[in-house]
């Protein structure tokens, strides 16, 4: 659904641009092409590695390590798995629900979900390309601690 909206916005903006100025539109297409080629190759590499990781470490294993009764251990596992992988939302949420039913604490699930999207070990090379090493290291490090804080606070509140 959001993808359709996104494509619609892009198409609308593009048409408007085309009507306003062909030259500027051409210029922007050139930029878009450059952006796409340089990023796409790297993203394919990242996604291929993450897919392999997920194939080697199946959801059952994640369920086992995160569903443990020791809260500290499961939070640690949750945030570590969340950090190294990127899992699409349509897999992450059902998996989280299964985890909850399997006995994982809310803190561990929150740690998993927040690091999953915000901290990107896998996307590190792409982020570095755009923003440089220092920015990328700091952002991921701070985000990791932010994610853990959110998780711990959820554990306290709920």
């Amino acid at each position: 659904m959001t993808t359709i909206i996104l494509i619609a916005i892009a198409a609308g903006f593009f048409l408007w641009s085309l009507i306003k100025s062909r030259k500027k539109t051409k210029e922007s297409l050139k930029i878009a092409k450059g952006l796409f080629i340089s990023t796409a190759i790297q993203i394919v590499g990242v996604l291929a590695l993450v897919s392999l990781f997920l194939a080697i470490i199946p959801p059952e294993l994640i369920r086992r390590v995160m569903g443990g009764t020791n809260e500290a251990v499961s939070v640690l596992w949750g945030s570590l798995i969340g950090t190294v992988t990127i899992i699409p939302a349509f897999i992450a949420f059902p998996l989280s629900k299964q985890l909850m039913e399997a006995g994982a604490t809310l803190t561990a699930i929150a740690a998993f979900l927040t690091t999953l999207t915000m901290v990107g070990f896998a996307t590190f090379p792409i982020e570095k390309e755009y923003f440089g090493t220092k920015f990328t290291v700091y952002r991921n490090l701070f985000s990791f601690f932010a994610a853990i804080s959110v998780a711990l606070l959820i554990g306290v509140i709920l």
Binding site: L49, L52, T117, P125, E127, F131
Partner: protein
């Protein structure tokens, strides 16, 4: 071949890993390939429109609009805008990088760029609905309410630690700077452009040729450090 490997280390590593996996366990290999399909589909749906939008922004939106909305002095309003961009975005965080970088190149502050990226990752309207249905409203609400202030704090922290000179200039800017460095930088205007920077941009787009620079074509000295009396 060597330069390809050097330039695309990641995909080379991935290819090697897949070959090793195929030898050790064809079953895992097939599972991984299946997984790739879903990922690639998502990427192909999201990335092209994202690239089109961000390049249109870089061509059409004037820098001062971005500076006013997302710059260092944009205040609370800038932070709110940044969260909203993330909240209504689509796709995983890697789709956010080109958009955030475009805004950054046009004058958005480091802090607001971090807010955009973090919100892009965590604060999402459609994701919120999915999360509520799977994990319950209490969980989703608490997570969102805790995360949003933390994201703003994260922006503030990054703003303090990462300066503008830590972030590389984009490919386009780099090319223009490269051309600019070769020019005499006297901004004489004889080429018909207002200054050397404008001329460099025109050369980069193929509209002008280096030979059109009147000073460069007159002398073959090393550019930039020529004495004034030539």
């Amino acid at each position: 071949m060597m330069t390809f490997i050097k330039k695309h280390k990641l995909i080379t590593v991935a290819a090697l890993a897949y070959i090793i996996t195929l030898i050790i366990s064809p079953e895992i290999f097939i599972n991984a390939i299946k997984q790739n399909g879903a990922f690639l589909l998502e990427m192909l749906e999201i990335l092209p429109p994202i690239m089109v939008i961000s390049s249109l922004i870089s061509v059409w939106v004037p820098n001062d609009v971005i500076i006013k909305g997302f710059g260092n002095t944009s205040g609370i309003k800038g932070k709110l805008f940044s969260i909203l961009i993330g909240a209504f975005s689509a796709g995983p965080i890697y789709a956010g990088f080109p958009v955030a970088k475009t805004l950054y190149d046009k004058g958005a502050s480091v802090g607001n760029v971090v807010i955009i990226l973090s919100a892009w990752a965590v604060v999402k309207v459609p994701m919120y609905l999915v999360e509520t249905s799977f994990l319950g409203a209490a969980f989703a609400n608490t997570r969102y309410l805790l995360t949003i202030p933390l994201i703003i704090f994260l922006g503030y922290l990054m703003q303090r630690f990462v300066k503008r000179e830590d972030i590389p200039v984009s490919e386009l800017d780099r090319k223009i700077t490269e051309i600019y460095d070769q020019l005499p930088q006297r901004h004489c205007g004889a080429c018909g452009y207002t200054d050397c920077h404008e001329f460099a941009k025109a050369v980069n787009e193929g509209e002008a040729d280096m030979s059109e620079c009147k000073i460069l074509s007159r002398s073959s000295d090393k550019p930039g450090n020529r004495p004034l009396d030539t």
